[in-house]
């Protein structure tokens, strides 16, 4: 006779960087049901966005998420640019692509480190985060800050990257790639420990991923080739882009998608820097946002969606943000039941939950 118990997982748990509460129903050691509970870090950012002026909001949306801060800001700026009828100059679009991919590498390396840490593979965790330091240095060098870049504004970007800096960045990207080749890639592809912990855990089939509306690496790990970068926003049309897809649908596939995307992002960054046209980076924005629009970007975790409504004044009437984690949380209901209690941390982490972002 199996014993049924309810075990609270989170909101405080060593593998969770941010608070989400999972109410796990267990039969002996096997999970049979799960109820995700959110609402621990609500900060009222959407309301604050209505009270600030639309220009000040760029600094607010930089702070929606601490990891993908630039892409939030970029999505917001792209939306307001549609409402005010301006277009970012081509050089600014290429710089946005560069910084967007930089945040993606930063986020993916952070997550790959956390995955290693959650398996107890401390040395790999340290190695990956050591490589991430190069990314943070590039961010500090080009934007003036390690994490909160604050470089995107309505009408373009605030800082330009000169030729000397491009050379320095290229040098650091080569060093980063070499470091990842030596540490991260062989560990993820060949290490038996990681495979034993991740292969076949947290299965999500292609049909289920489509049905539950999964986005980002969670969907791409299940063979669904969706990526907003395919729509060619910023400079992705010029740079060219193919989504990274794995078909296995388990935690390992999602890990491999992120590892491959890290390499892909490094290539996109180098291409964007090489193809960047000369010219201005910021255009003057006259007038106030009017009308309503929708803006989408691909974040490290998937598609982020902004709804913006302006009424012709300095303040926006409504800003609605739907973050990728919010779309990915329902996949827990399929991935967790049937697994062992000991696999719950890895499966929970495999969608890369970003709760502060989700609750704003």
């Amino acid at each position: 006779m199996a014993v049924r118990t309810v075990i609270p997982f989170g909101p405080q748990h060593p593998v969770l960087p941010e608070p989400v509460h999972l109410k796990l129903e267990l039969e002996d050691e096997r999970v049979v049901g799960v109820t995700p509970i959110l609402g621990y870090v609500h900060r009222g950012i959407e309301k604050a966005a209505e009270l600030n002026t639309f220009r000040q909001n760029t600094n607010l949306f930089d702070r929606v998420c601490g990891i993908c801060s630039f892409i939030h800001c970029q999505t917001y700026c792209q939306g307001v640019e549609v409402l005010t009828g301006v277009e970012a100059p081509p050089r600014a679009r290429f710089l946005r692509t560069f910084w967007g991919e930089l945040s993606r590498v930063h986020s993916h390396l952070l997550w790959l480190g956390l995955l290693a840490d959650c398996m107890g593979f401390e040395s790999l965790f340290m190695q990956i985060w050591r490589a991430r330091e190069i990314v943070l240095d590039i961010s500090e060098m080009t934007t003036g800050h390690r994490v909160i870049q604050a470089s995107s504004v309505v009408g373009g970007v605030r800082r330009d990257i000169n030729k000397d800096m491009v050379k320095e960045v290229e040098k650091r990207l080569v060093a980063l790639k070499e470091m990842l080749d030596n540490t991260m890639a062989p560990a993820l592809l060949h290490d038996a420990t990681i495979k034993r912990r991740a292969v076949g855990k947290g299965m999500l089939s292609k049909e289920q991923a489509e049905l539950l509306g999964a986005v980002g690496p969670t969907a791409r790990g299940s063979g669904v080739a969706i990526d907003v970068r395919q729509t060619g926003y910023a400079a992705y049309k010029e740079v060219g882009f193919e989504p990274v897809v794995e078909t296995a649908g388990d935690s390992y596939a999602r890990t491999v998608v992120r590892a491959r995307e890290t390499y892909q992002s490094i290539e996109i960054m180098r291409k964007a820097l090489a193809m960047m046209p000369e010219g201005e980076v910021l255009v003057r924005v006259d007038g106030y946002p009017e009308g309503e629009t929708v803006s989408r970007c691909e974040q490290p975790r998937g598609e982020v969606f902004y709804y913006l409504k302006g009424n012709g004044t300095n303040n926006l009437e409504r800003v609605k943000v739907r973050t990728p984690t919010f779309a990915n949380i329902p996949t827990y209901l399929v991935m967790l039941p049937g697994c062992e209690m000991a696999d719950v941390p890895i499966i929970t982490l495999s969608i890369d939950p970003c709760i502060s972002c989700t609750e704003r």
Partner: protein, 112 residues
């Protein structure tokens, strides 16, 4: 695990990757790092543009008392005020404000 050996040997004979902050080996911030804001009172004309654009309400400008008030603990170091300042009286340092026991506001009197 043969792939680990080069990394292990390299790490064994190299310096630690971390820095002993705040004691020594602190890396200089890159040029252009966004740090604390400083005002040159001789250039300031108290127009108040910095206070208007500040997203964190960290700057207060009083024309009657001819004072410029700055709260480094409210400041988010975005540097927007430095960009908009018409007489270019503001300057951004590459070091951020040090931790302190008391959150003090800086007040600078602007000469006539």
């Amino acid at each position: 695990m043969p792939w680990m050996f080069p990394t292990i040997m390299k790490n064994l004979f190299s310096r630690p990757a971390t820095r002993r902050y705040p004691f020594k080996d602190i890396r200089e911030p890159f040029p252009g790092y966004r740090g604390k804001i400083y005002l040159d009172p001789n250039k300031c004309d108290l127009c108040g543009d910095c206070a208007r654009v500040c997203p964190a309400d960290a700057i207060e400008v009083s024309l009657e008392n001819r004072q410029w008030k700055y709260d480094p603990f409210k400041c988010i170091y975005c540097g927007t005020c430095v960009e908009v300042c018409p007489p270019q009286a503001l300057r951004q340092d590459k070091y951020y404000a040090k931790p302190a026991a008391v959150k003090a506001t800086e007040t600078i009197s602007v000469p006539v």
